[in-house]
């Protein structure tokens, strides 16, 4: 599975899940439609779609693409999976950062949103590339666990455990796997 796309750069560090999707949008009881409220309070003045904050990157027509490139410690804070749903629903297939919060990373993987962790240096170079050329592209090769800054040719490898990688490539989820283990789980319960 490959993702080849231009990017949207979000240079902030410590982007927390309250920014990704503010609490007032967590009242929905389905998983759909969160994309329109992604980064809601950074996107609009007075919570009004008619008043976009032009300086915010999602409102800048120069940038678009399926890959979000974000500063260190992305997705910290609450466990709300709505954050992953919102990013996915908005159209992202991958997030690149030099550091992800744990729960966010799991939530992303469970929703086929690929978290790609790179070094601080790789990330910094990537931001620089995008600053110079907003149409710069990234190539992510999940099979080989590599990410390439296409403009510079700089390439790096990222971690993902082999179980999750298989799930990702084949579209399996953990529940299918766990359900297939029912007997072993019952045996465990009997012996504990």
């Amino acid at each position: 599975m490959n993702i080849h796309s231009t990017t949207i750069p979000l240079e902030n560090e410590n982007v927390d899940t309250d920014q990704i999707i503010p609490a007032r949008f967590l009242k929905a009881t389905s998983r759909d439609g969160f994309g329109k409220n992604l980064f809601r309070d950074w996107r609009y003045n007075n919570d009004d779609e008619a008043q976009p904050k032009t300086e915010f990157v999602l409102n800048n027509p120069v940038f678009n693409g399926k890959i979000l490139v974000a500063g260190k410690n992305f997705g910290c804070g609450s466990s709300r999976e709505h954050a992953a749903w919102a990013l996915k629903d908005y159209g992202f297939d991958a997030v690149v950062s030099s550091f992800f919060a744990d729960i966010f990373k799991n939530n992303a993987l469970n929703n086929f949103l690929l978290p790609v962790q790179v070094s601080d240096e790789f990330l910094e170079n990537l931001f620089e590339t995008i600053r110079q050329n907003p149409a710069a592209e990234i190539f992510i090769d999940l099979e080989n666990q590599s990410i390439t800054n296409v403009s510079t040719g700089e390439k790096a490898w990222f971690d993902i455990n082999s179980y999750k990688k298989t799930c990702f490539i084949n579209g399996y989820d953990d529940i299918d796997y766990l359900l297939s283990m029912r007997e072993e789980i019952e045996d465990y319960e009997m012996s504990h």
């Binding site: 500063g71 709505h82 729960i103 359900l179 072993e184």
Partner: protein, 468 residues
């Protein structure tokens, strides 16, 4: 072995090669916000909830904290709470919903009912599940897909985290509480300093804390990125649990306590990282920025960005802009508009008692509004029984009804844009307490002091006066 290893090993159903473990969950807490999509998942698959008896539900995030006997006004909140009620009924889950005498914030009621017990694995679709670690449990927050996994199988797929031990030795000074300990630790290691780790808190300063104070510390483990935090159980733990509603009793109690006494990190246990802190170095803490790592002593000066690395400066500047604060200024004396004493960090009876003892005979300042939101129905009832409500009323503080309230502003309890709120909760993120709200995190005592003076105050100065 570490304490964490002992509990972890016991709960591994199967280790997948090159991958995660199938990890067994003893207790699953749920609430209205992160569960509806998971229940839908069960319905879609046409399967039952595997272990309803190990699942407990409450309504907390959305609930009003005033006139709880009336229907919830806000339609979406009402719908979410109703959905929880229907789902619990359909899938056979015990619900301590609105109006129930056990209702409250999920991380307050678990311990208080004795459901949380040493050696257990506990999860909830909420990051502050780490609170339960205070009893020597592996407890952590999960996303909704994982809630569905636990519903379906009582298991999760988990990778073993790295382990860190934070040792805090010595004696805390007057006016310094467990909230100050954890705000100090996070300020030292940053909001991402423990990402990828499970943390054990140890040392003489931790041992001497009450259970409730220990819960405050474990609660905020997530604010430094840790998956969870835990503390070895001891007599303080057992004394707290004994006689609680769902705690074991009789012979079973003796047996359990004997097992629980084995739950500690062995002398030769190895941690991936260790930190040592002197309790004497900790002062009352306040945050000035928009993540919990941006904390300073109440006597401190808001730092200058030149102390930071170049690439951290834009985020720092953005935070100060949002807060309307300036580098180089003292935090002490900063005007406050609201005081919020509540949340799963600091809304237990000891917190309320401490605040009441301090404000007795004092008055709130004219410029502030003060909300005290107890963590549960039981805390509220206890506060009334002890006459604390009278003290609060006389001081001009509002004692409200239990729920998450202004901790995340999903109900009506929101701080208006631009206003300053000193809060005993755990997150000072932008907009956390309401759009544009400015949050300063602090201990209940420091919050109470600000309530009385109307500005950020070093509570120790007021304590000295009253004890003379």
């Amino acid at each position: 072995m570490t304490l964490f290893d002992k509990i972890w090993t016991k709960h591994v159903v199967k280790q997948i090669e090159g991958g995660p473990s199938v990890f067994y969950i003893d207790r699953h807490f749920i609430h209205e916000v992160t569960s509806p999509q998971a229940f839908d998942g069960l319905r879609k698959r046409g399967i039952p909830l595997a272990r309803p008896a190990q699942t407990v539900a409450t309504a907390d995030h959305n609930v009003p904290t005033w006139d709880q006997h009336l229907p919830i006004k806000e339609a979406l909140s009402r719908l979410q709470v109703e959905k929880l009620t229907e789902n619990c009924k359909e899938f056979g889950v015990e619900l301590y919903g609105l109006g129930h005498s056990y209702q409250g914030i999920v991380h307050v009621i678990g311990p208080e009912l004795g459901i949380t017990q040493p050696g257990m694995t506990i999860v909830c679709g909420d990051s502050h599940t780490s609170t339960h670690g205070a009893f020597g449990t592996i407890a952590f927050g999960i996303g909704t897909s994982e809630v569905e996994m636990v519903f379906a199988t009582q298991c999760l797929m988990q990778n073993k985290p790295k382990q860190m031990r934070i040792n805090i030795d010595g004696e805390l000074g007057q006016g310094v509480s467990s909230k100050d300990i954890i705000l100090y630790v996070i300020a030292q290691i940053s909001a991402s300093g423990a990402t990828g780790y499970f943390v054990e808190y140890a040392g003489s300063a931790i041992r001497s804390l009450s259970m409730e104070a220990r819960m405050t510390i474990c609660n905020m483990s997530i604010e430094m990125g840790a998956r969870g935090g835990l503390i070895a159980p001891d007599d303080t733990t057992f004394d707290y649990l004994e006689g609680r509603k769902f705690a074991p009793s009789g012979i079973l109690w003796e047996e359990r306590v004997a097992e629980w006494r084995e739950l500690y990190s062995d002398a030769d246990a190895v941690f991936d990282h260790e930190i040592h802190i002197r309790a004497e170095d900790i002062q009352p803490m306040v945050t000035y920025g928009t993540n919990p790592g941006m904390g300073i002593p109440v006597t401190g000066i808001i730092p200058d960005e030149t102390l930071l690395e170049e690439k951290e400066r834009p985020s720092f500047r953005k935070a100060l802009d949002y807060m309307g604060l300036q580098s180089g200024n003292a935090i002490k004396g900063q005007k406050i508009d609201y005081v919020f004493i509540g949340s799963c960090t600091n809304s237990r009876i000891e917190d309320l008692r401490e605040v009441a003892a301090f404000v007795k005979g004092r008055q709130k300042a004219d410029n502030v509004e003060v909300w005290i939101v107890p963590g549960s129905k039981q805390v509220e009832a206890q506060a009334r029984e002890e006459g604390l409500h009278g003290i609060f009323e006389e001081a001009g503080f509002q004692l409200r009804q239990p729920g998450c309230s202004a901790c995340l502003g999903m109900n009506e309890d929101k701080i208006p844009a631009g206003k300053y709120c000193i809060s005993t909760s755990n997150r000072n993120f932008e907009g956390r307490q309401g759009q544009g709200a400015r949050t300063l995190l602090a201990s209940p005592l420091t919050a109470a002091a600000a309530a009385v003076t109307g500005v950020v105050t070093d509570v120790r100065e007021l304590l000295t006066v009253s004890s003379e």
